[in-house]
Amino acid sequence: MIYLDHAAATPVDPRVLKAMEPYFSRDFFNPSSAYLPAKKVAADYQTAKATIAHAIGAKSSDLVITAGATEANNLAFTAATNALYLKTEHDSVRKVAKNHHGVEIAVDKYGRIDLADFRAKLADDIDLVSVSLVNNELGVIQPLAEISGIIREVKFDRLRRGVKTPLYLHSDASQALNLLDINVARLGVDLLTLNAAKIYGPKGVGALYVSHGVRLSPVTFGGGQENGLRSGTENVPGAIGFAKAVELAHEHLNGNRKKYAELKKLLLSELQGYELINKKHTLDNFIVLCYNDIDAERLIYLLEEKEVYVSTGAACAASKGQKSHVLAAIGLSDEQIAGSLRLTLGETNDEGQIHTAAKIINEVVANEYQRLQNG
């Protein structure tokens, strides 16, 4: 198997699994229970939260552990009455934004935020701006520090004019935690979504960083866990695994970047007849290709037969047969979108695999062109 879809899911690192294991069995206690073994579990849970928090320059009390990034994004939007969000955001932002008078911000041809459009739409009633740090289809890195700089200016101006509407910046950093050095203060974000499942941690675990002073409302009500913002017995093994994954990601940040950049270069040099869609400002492990006249979905099934796994975009969108709103937003034609493949590299890949994958993809694409000619 050659797995080239790490943006969709990552296998749990064996070290992560090992760290989690005791909390399923020996240390199974409810962290809210009163006796000491349970208090120890509660303490381990807090330590795990602290590890995750420290990786982004925050404190454990700033984090709400959620059941994944989608829930974290939904929780972040409880701060919003009137929201702005990037046109290319994941559905977990786009759909919830609709409930908060969400207005789209345009992107340029690379998928980066259109800052002029952003400024123009930043009206006095806007209280939340949501821009993902890295787009899940293109791997485009957004200039968050620049965005937060504009937000600072606008906040400053609002205060000057006596406008009391707060203004918060939310960013979904699900794709970025193992490749970018993330620091909430440097990015200037008030809310940040993290995801364990994309960094070789367990699925169904995420976190929302909430800076001081941001007022959120719970989406789930109950026993008041996570400072009352996310009731429900804590997912202790999940948080422990998340923390371990964060720790490993941080240790290998530079090594990973170098490795993926080299693999990407190799893959692009060996593949033939494609147009590279995400040319600039992208994470090193994201490759979006377009083959003229080809139906990329057919490529997925043809490659699947050779045990090479790729995707056409967000796994959740593809499964619904929708065309990519991200590729449309950067100005691709329907034909180009139909011919686009997303390859995302990861820890399961090595140089040998990339050689093989390039060879197989080239063959499959050549066969498709042959088929089209014959047809």
Binding site: A34, L36, K39, K40, A42, A43, K59, S61, D62, R152, E153, K155, F156, D157, R158, L159, R160, G162, V163, K164, V210, H212, G213, V214, R215, L216, G224, N227, G228, L229
Partner: protein, 345 residues
């Protein structure tokens, strides 16, 4: 054997205090003072956990345990005082007020009514010849917070760990099986906790945008959310930006003055600014137990002791000191003995 009511917070200090009293053969009752239980946005008040920890210790020690509810009084005497002071532009110390009004007044009085000979707490402080004195552990000394407690209460107070060093307290807790290894030490004002004072105040005081000005040039550098949220000496949280063309030398701005009436916060980068330094401090609500001409003064918890002379209501320092915010306390010492103190005007 004396009848002692010990305030138990669930922390290691008060737990060891209770254990020592039991060891000394006293008739000990553990009391959890419930002063505050309100959750704040982004912070769950840990009172229920603290209570559970205190109760566990009492059960282990085999002593009776009760919860005394002072929430109403705490709200009136401490929180409202604090809000009033902030609104007046001062920076009050609610822990000092809590000791004066709650722990060494209401708790003391109620214990006496119940037939106590003494109350006890886990503070790092000593009593020498009926005088409040600094703790053996100079690093943990808490007399700064205790200078306003009455002589009457002091005569009936025990500080069982005042002679001990913190590491020894921890060791003893471990030895006695009381060490709550999983509990972190509480920091800052207990009920404000990690959310920070500004966020706490925002729950009670409306945002009122105003100007941030440079003190010497009067130039408007930025805007703030209300002068009451800022403390003299503070250097964080200033929305100063947008000064295009100005060379950013990377130096921080400090709050040096507040004009509450006009809602203006004055800042300076100049650490030699005359507003920052002073050789005199005017005080109010002075408590002075023994008129000694040359005293040592502490201007913050754990701050070094500086020599000064008190004349009437003014402290005169030998060398210049950084001016503390009004509402904070200056506490007086003669050697080990705490002579009292006053609130800075």
């Amino acid at each position: 054997m004396a009848k002692v009511f010990v305030g138990m917070s669930g922390g290691v200090d008060s737990s060891v205090s209770a254990a020592l009293l039991v060891e000394q053969g006293h008739d000990v009752t553990g009391i959890y003072m419930k002063n505050w239980s309100r959750d704040l946005p982004g912070m769950k008040c840990p009172w229920a956990e603290d209570l559970a920890d205190a109760k566990r210790v009492a059960v282990k020690l085999g002593i009776p345990f009760e919860v005394w509810d002072f929430e109403k009084e705490y709200r009136e005497k401490v929180v409202e005082y604090m809000l009033r002071e902030f609104k007046a532009g001062n920076t009050p110390n609610p822990d000092i007020m809590c000791n004066e009004e709650i722990k060494f007044k209401l708790f003391y009085e109620k214990a006496m009514e119940r037939g106590a000979d003494f109350i006890a707490t886990g503070h790092y402080a000593r009593i020498i010849d009926n005088n409040l004195a600094r703790a053996a552990d100079e690093n943990k000394d808490q007399t700064y917070f205790l200078y306003r407690i009455s002589d009457e209460a002091l005569m009936h107070t025990l500080f069982p760990i005042g002679d001990m060093l913190k590491p020894d307290v921890k060791k003893l807790a471990e030895k006695k099986g009381l060490h709550n290894a999983y509990k972190k030490e509480s920091m800052g004002v207990c009920f404000v906790g990690e959310v920070g004072m500004k966020d706490f105040l925002k729950e009670y005081i409306d945002v009122q945008p105003g100007e941030i000005r440079e003190i010497s040039t009067e130039k408007v550098l930025g805007y703030h959310e209300g002068a009451v949220f800022y403390t003299i000496g503070q250097r964080h949280g200033l929305y100063i930006s947008g000064n295009k063309g100005e060379i950013n030398d990377g130096l921080p701005y400090y709050v040096v003055k507040k004009d509450l009436e006009k809602n203006i916060v004055y800042v300076s980068k100049n650490l030699n600014d005359s507003h920052i330094w002073t050789k005199e401090l005017k005080l109010k609500d002075i408590i002075l137990k023994n008129d000694t001409p040359n005293i040592l003064v502490r201007l913050r918890h754990r701050a070094p002791l500086v020599p000064a002379t008190l004349k009437n209501d003014t402290l005169y320092f030998e060398s210049e000191i950084k001016r503390p915010a009004s509402g904070q306390s200056a506490v007086f010492y003669d050697g080990e003995i705490c002579l009292g103190g006053g609130i800075i005007c």
